[in-house]
């Protein structure tokens, strides 16, 4: 069942097209990876999908609702879309536990006891329960990443967006992120992951959406994209990536 349907999505900055008509869909429980060269519009696409950046035109149908309409309560929509940022973006003045609790307390109106119980459960799901009282500054990049994931998961989102989840991590941590994403996928969490990390993409089960100049130029499993693909840009991208893999 389709959870997210994107049709003809465009985004212009000062008349320069960053997204030039993106079309794709994401089914419930699916994991999809967005790849492409730097500046191709990957992060802009992710931010347009929950209207952190306003799209210039196009349709985004999320869970049956067209969410680009002015009348849509976008804050309500965002509460159903978990977003894990490249640099984790934890609230620096709050402990790991309070970072995870904040949305439950202030958006869902849960009592402190209920919010604490659920937050601890989500932290244990990402193996961070032993660090719940630490502040972001006292956590490693990988640990911050896990808290950010718990903060997104605790809101019980319909889909999780990841923006370059491994770019700020060392290879060992990056492998752990791949394992974690696979585990979430096994638990039927729907995931849309933007990355330039071919190793991560290879370790995830979903199709890759290849974005170039703000358009989807290919959509296929990464193994197919890496095998002398018909599209010249896809070939150039993966040939350039291959030596480092």
């Amino acid at each position: 069942m389709t959870l997210l349907q994107v049709r003809g999505l465009t985004k212009k900055h000062d008349d320069v097209g960053v997204l030039n008509g993106v079309d794709f869909s994401l089914c419930k429980g699916e994991i999809k990876i967005v790849m492409g060269p730097s500046g191709c519009g990957k992060t802009t696409l992710l931010r347009c999908l929950n209207r952190l950046q306003e799209p210039s035109s196009g349709e985004i149908i999320f869970d049956g609702e067209e969410i680009t309409a002015a009348a849509v309560d976008i804050q309500q929509v965002r509460q159903r879309i978990g977003f894990v940022f490249q640099n984790f973006a934890l609230y620096r003045h709050l402990s790991a536990l309070d970072n995870v609790k904040l949305g439950l307390r202030k958006l869902r109106g849960l009592s402190d006891a209920e919010a604490t119980q659920r937050a601890i459960y989500e932290l244990s799901r990402v193996e961070m329960q032993d660090h719940q009282d630490k502040y972001p500054a006292h956590l490693s990049g990988g640990q911050q990443q896990r808290v950010a994931i718990a903060r997104a998961l605790v809101m019980d989102p319909a889909v999780l967006f990841f923006d370059e989840p491994t770019s700020a991590l060392d290879p060992l941590m990056a492998r752990e992120v791949a394992n974690l994403l696979n585990r979430l996928h096994d638990e039927k969490v729907t995931i849309l992951c933007v990355t330039h990390d071919v190793t991560l993409a290879k370790n995830l089960p979903g199709d890759v959406l290849f974005l170039n100049h703000g358009r989807v130029e290919a959509e296929a499993p990464i193994s197919e994209l890496m095998k002398n693909h018909a599209n010249e840009n896809v070939r150039a991208f993966f040939e350039q990536k291959a030596p480092s893999e």
């Binding site: 509460q79 973006a89 609230y91 620096r92 202030k106 958006l107 903060r151």
Partner: protein, 221 residues
């Protein structure tokens, strides 16, 4: 020795008035510190408005009150407003004048602290579904207030010292009482030395409290 004893005797004789002046100084400094902080938070919030007109108006407010001597503002209200039939007590005028001025400075301290915040947190909060009001009260304000403690408490110290100019609009504070004492016993050097020492003691207490607050509320980094 007898001269020093006479001076102390004068101070003791005049003690109740000095104490009442000191209490007035503390009341005024305490009041304007609170109202100045609250108004400063409001002005700071307006500097973050999405509305360009509000942002520009706020910037002009800040420039105006930082650029205008406080005494001019106090005289304007104390001597100028009665010409329009508007009369306020010296205390009310002092509170209004100081608050308008202090708010401008406090909003600048908060803005400087805000510029040091990792802006990705604000985007993360938007992405989580928080409204701009919630982002301000839950993310921005707790962090800017904590980061701005040195500036804000420095302002409290200035408020204690600057409150002495309220005596120029007939507010009978500690400085006014000490001036009265000096004019009675002609011991200007000693009276003003004691006056300075008392202000120094009050400001030292504020600085001590500021250090404690900074340590207690520091955001780990």
């Amino acid at each position: 020795m007898s001269e020093a004893f006479a001076f102390l005797n004068d101070i003791v004789d005049y003690g109740p008035q000095i104490l009442s002046g000191l209490i007035n100084t503390l009341i005024l400094a305490g009041t304007i510190s609170v109202t100045g902080l609250l108004a400063g938070i409001l002005i700071f919030r307006l500097t973050l408005s999405d509305n360009e007109i509000i942002r520009k108006s706020t910037a002009r407010y800040i420039s105006f009150f930082i650029g205008t001597p406080l005494i001019v503002l106090l005289f304007l209200m104390y001597y100028g407003l009665p010409q329009w039939g508007i009369n306020f007590s010296p205390f009310t005028i002092a509170v209004i004048g100081f608050t308008l001025n202090i708010a401008a400075y406090n909003s600048r301290y908060l803005s400087a602290a805000y510029n040091g915040i990792d802006q990705h947190q604000l985007m993360a909060a938007s992405a989580q579904g928080f409204s701009s009001r919630q982002i301000f009260t839950l993310i921005i304000l707790p962090q800017t207030l904590r980061r701005a403690i040195p500036g804000l408490t420095n302002q409290v110290a200035l408020n204690i010292k600057d409150s002495s100019i309220a005596f120029l609009i007939q507010y009978v504070d500690f400085f006014a009482q000490m001036q009265e004492q000096a004019s009675l016993n002609f011991q200007y050097l000693k009276v003003y030395a004691v006056t300075g020492a008392v202000y120094l003691l009050l400001v030292s207490l504020v600085i001590f409290a500021s250090k404690r607050l900074e340590t207690r509320y520091a955001i780990p980094h």
